[in-house]
Symmetry: C2
Subunit: 410 residues, 2 copies
């Protein structure tokens, strides 16, 4: 089935905001096995909206539209869908009551304008909006099916995840499911080489190699006549891939390294302390982004200056003089000392040169040492990164989390 995504909104067309709605919907459609032929953005302009929706209606089976469902004069999605399909707008008293309640409950004044949100094209199936006022809808016509969702990302996602996805899963005559494996510490081309024959031989499932931010993912997509059949195909494909490159797999889908590490620390009832230099607090920020992290993270020391390394992390002055702040010796002391100071099972340190300045011939920008101290000893790793400051900080945090992951797995 051919789909098309249309994101309506002046703030997108002016480049004021990122169009995450398009990406989110496209990603989910791809996982469900739908083909997407075009993704378009247009402003709150009736003439251009009409042109776009009419073209889409004539070339796609399902057209997913976001935006333009609000109560203002600029919100034209209902009107334009009504116009291109010939389905006149019909008043829904039950929606108008829901709307009035929504506003009363929040002590916001209900105006006449808001009533227009209760007019929907004839035949539309309403999808309730739990997080906002604009009801979404699905309108099936002879030419195509329109799915209209709000433009506010969290409202759109709630409706897509909880209502639209089920509809799309039913509508696709075949059962198509995907699973995404997250890899770290292996480059895209090397991974491709390791599983080349698996990629080439298979027609079902199919595989897509996706480059993330310093990581690689493989999306396995299988098609079948039942959920069991499809799951079995995906499981077998995953098993084969794990045989070749399983050591590099750390998780699935949207679960990043920090969440995976957090889960393992929790399960194993281990605690961790951090000693960060060039990452500046990024590792701590990522770990604390996961709810429940207070169960395993005691805290961290961001030792940006050498004096703080000496005073708070008790790094020996002679170590700094002899080997420098960016060295395996300093990384080792930072990790072992923070572990002792905060009395945790693990101590993790990162010290390096993020750039653009600070590099030398012996230690160019991108030189980073990461150390992990535990009761079985201290491992030190050296990185030679080649990105800009932001990239080097990010990749340092990625590798740091990855080394903790590997340690906990073994």
């Amino acid at each position: 089935m051919i789909t098309e995504i249309i994101t309506i909104g002046t703030e997108i067309i002016l480049g004021d905001i990122q169009n995450d709605n398009a990406r989110y919907i496209a990603e989910k459609l791809t996982e469900l096995g739908y083909d997407i032929h075009y993704i378009s953005t247009v402003g709150d302009n009736r003439k251009r909206m009409y042109s776009l929706l009419k073209t889409a209606m004539n070339r796609a089976d399902i057209v997913l539209v976001t935006g333009g469902l609000g109560p203002t004069d600029d919100d034209l999605t209902r009107e334009v869908i009504s116009e291109v399909t010939g389905r006149k707008l019909v008043f829904h008293p039950d929606i108008s009551i829901l709307l009035k309640n929504y506003f009363q409950h929040r002590n916001i004044q209900f105006t006449e304008n808001n009533l227009k949100q209760a007019y929907l094209p004839e035949g539309a199936v309403i999808l309730e909006n739990e997080l906002g006022t604009a009801p979404a809808f699905i309108l099936e016509t002879e030419k195509c099916t329109f799915i209209a969702m709000p433009g506010v990302p969290r409202e759109m996602r709630e409706i897509f995840d909880n209502k639209v996805k089920a509809y799309l899963m039913k509508k696709n005559t075949a059962i198509i499911r995907s699973r995404v494996l997250n890899f770290f510490s292996i480059g895209e081309s090397i991974l491709e080489t390791k599983i080349k024959d698996i990629l080439e031989r298979q027609k079902n499932p199919t595989f897509a190699l996706l480059a993330g931010t310093g990581e690689v993912k493989i999306r396995i997509t299988a098609k079948g006549t039942s959920e069991e059949e499809v799951s079995a195909l995906i499981n077998e494909a995953e098993r084969k891939i794990r045989e070749r490159a399983g050591e590099y797999i750390y998780g699935y889908s949207d679960e990043g390294l920090a969440a995976v590490v957090g889960r393992l620390l929790s399960e194993k009832k281990k605690t961790i302390a951090l000693a960060e230099s060039c990452t500046g607090g990024l590792v701590g920020h990522r770990i604390t982004a996961v709810p429940g992290s207070s169960d395993y993270l005691a805290g961290g020391i961001v030792a940006y200056s050498n004096q703080v390394k000496i005073d708070l992390l008790q790094v020996k002055e002679e170590t700094l003089l002899k080997h420098g702040a960016v060295s395996k010796e300093t990384a080792r002391e930072m990790a072992e000392n923070v572990r002792r100071i905060m009395n945790t099972d693990l101590g993790l340190s990162v010290t390096g040169i993020a750039g653009p300045g600070g590099g030398t011939k012996e230690k160019p920008v991108g030189t980073v040492y990461i150390a992990l101290s535990s009761n079985s000893g201290t491992d030190v790793h050296k990185l030679s990164l080649t990105g800009n400051r932001e990239w080097n900080k990010w990749m340092s945090s990625q590798y740091a989390l990855y080394f903790v992951f590997k340690h906990l797995k073994n």
Copy 2:
């Protein structure tokens, strides 16, 4: 002049990556005063690329295209632009020499495939790609002008910023320029109310209110016949806005709070130390994202557990028992103590409940205390945030940086 943006790439249409190229180009076009009517994405599919580019050619004056300029069989932009315009592909020996040198220099093997990058539509003006192999080009035809740029974001941005922008500035018969003012700590509707008459009265410049991530921006766009005339109009508009809401302006355009704070700390030769709890290292990460931050940041303590607050930040046990970790008393001690411990001019602390768990009736999720200690005393601020964990962490870091900004300004 009417423009259209077409981003070509299978990884965008499948939702594998964010389409930042579209947003970037749209933002820059808007600042230069160009109207954008449609933004579209299509995969590396010749038929659909042809359909899209042909439609665009017939309805826009300038069509900016990204992607499809690589050396593989999937790279079809040159071929399709040649087809829709009727301008045959012409071999450029000088480009093929540049390409060969590029590969030799990096010890990568040059293959026949790469030669296709030296074929460009007749009449194309070449824009050199300093960061990659694919040359970009501008092709002026009777119907419209095509500007073809690489899909790799940093290559596209370099070419756009250093070559395309100048072309667009010349091509627009009027001089149109924009300036963006960044506001913090004032809501969009309140700001709109304060400058309502300025917004309504003006035809030139025009104003756009943009909502950022927990901040508000105003884009002032002015049109004129000379750079001086346009600058004068923008300066006057900024002056009027500053009269009404100047206390909330912290900077311009893309310069975030961390960069502004860093600049002020540098200028005033002040140093700072951080004591973070709920932000977990985010403030340190943001400050260290700015090159040169080692000039003013000594370091930080991420005191996630109460024990670390006691042991490393020397917060009094009785303070924690009596008032709790999330209190103005604890925030004060954290800021004053880290300042003393790291011997800096300023000490900044953040302690709060990011959520989703941890809230109580007296201290619900979103309760955050921020303290700033200096030689003139300690100021403590209380926030009542209402977002999710990620939002509450972000906004806490925003307010923390903002309070440092205000302190340094006065």
